[in-house]
Amino acid sequence: MFFHLCQWLFDSALGTSIRESTYVFPLIETLHVLAITVLVGTVAILDLRLWGAVLKGEKVTTVARQLLPLTWAGFALVLSSGVLLFIAEAAKLYSNPAFRLKLLFLVLVGLNPLVFHFTIYRSVDQWDEAVVTPARARLAGAVSLSLWAGIIVAGRAIAYFH
């Protein structure tokens, strides 16, 4: 069923025109890569703060609140450009192992901040100024860094499985 959906998207006017244009596909792909640096770069700064590796003197909440708008802006661009790229290549991506792995990582990386916010982050007042945060916060940071790295690696690998 999913394959038929992918084939339908692939054959759609939008998908076909993106795929067959000389400039649109590379432009969207470039935007996708740059937006990833905004999204993952800002997420990584927060994750590294949880480990006390950067911005040691600043409160965790200060870093989190100030970076979040950039993170969301990056996320919106990554998602919209990613959806367009997917539509253009849907029928090929359906069976691409790297793409499937990337999707799995994306689901997990989405769950991680949810768990983080509803558990250890609730007590952030107690460790806001700590250089090295509690083990569970550091775990969330490590999971986030690993998953995002996996997403970038799997994303790049898509092109090698065509």
């Binding site: 470039t30 890569v33 990833i36 640096t37 905004v38 970076l67 690696v153």
Partner: protein, 140 residues
């Protein structure tokens, strides 16, 4: 590396991971110097806090970049996108270095002069150019 598909791929992936960190640190530092982001935190603190990320990721990008270049040297030599990237990079690195040094030296005062703001905006534009031209090497 020319004879192995995955050798090149792995180096390229590390290059991209470095890009995420470099792009993130450049963006947050330069926006902060421009007066956006990390309010309530001194600019010199932002620079001091993030230059280690900037430096480490720049080293990763240069090392992997040279490795990638070693496989595609001739293609790159003739690529206008690659030439533009190197030109922008040659301007962006010293500019960022000077900006960071200046911000660290001004530890006490926090008002960015219009000169610093202009330099931060130019730095952002140059790094954007490095990224776009870099991606374009694969297309042109």
């Amino acid at each position: 590396m020319q004879s192995s598909t995955w050798g090149f791929a792995v180096v390229e992936m590390v290059h991209l991971l470095g890009l995420a960190l470099l792009g993130g640190s450049v963006l947050v530092i330069d926006l902060s110097l421009l007066g956006f982001g990390l309010r309530g935190v001194k600019k010199s603190q932002v620079v001091r806090g993030l230059t280690p990320v900037f430096r480490l990721s720049l080293v990763v990008m240069l090392v992997t970049g040279v490795l990638l270049l070693s496989e595609e040297a001739l293609k790159c030599y003739y690529s206008p996108a690659f030439r533009l990237k190197i030109l922008a990079l040659a301007l962006a690195v010293p500019l960022s270095w000077a900006l960071h040094r200046q911000a660290l030296r001004n530890g006490g005062t926090d008002d960015a002069t219009s000169k610093v703001k202009l330099a931060a905006a130019v730095s952002l534009a140059l790094w954007l150019c490095v990224g776009v031209a870099g991606r374009a090497i694969g297309f042109i």
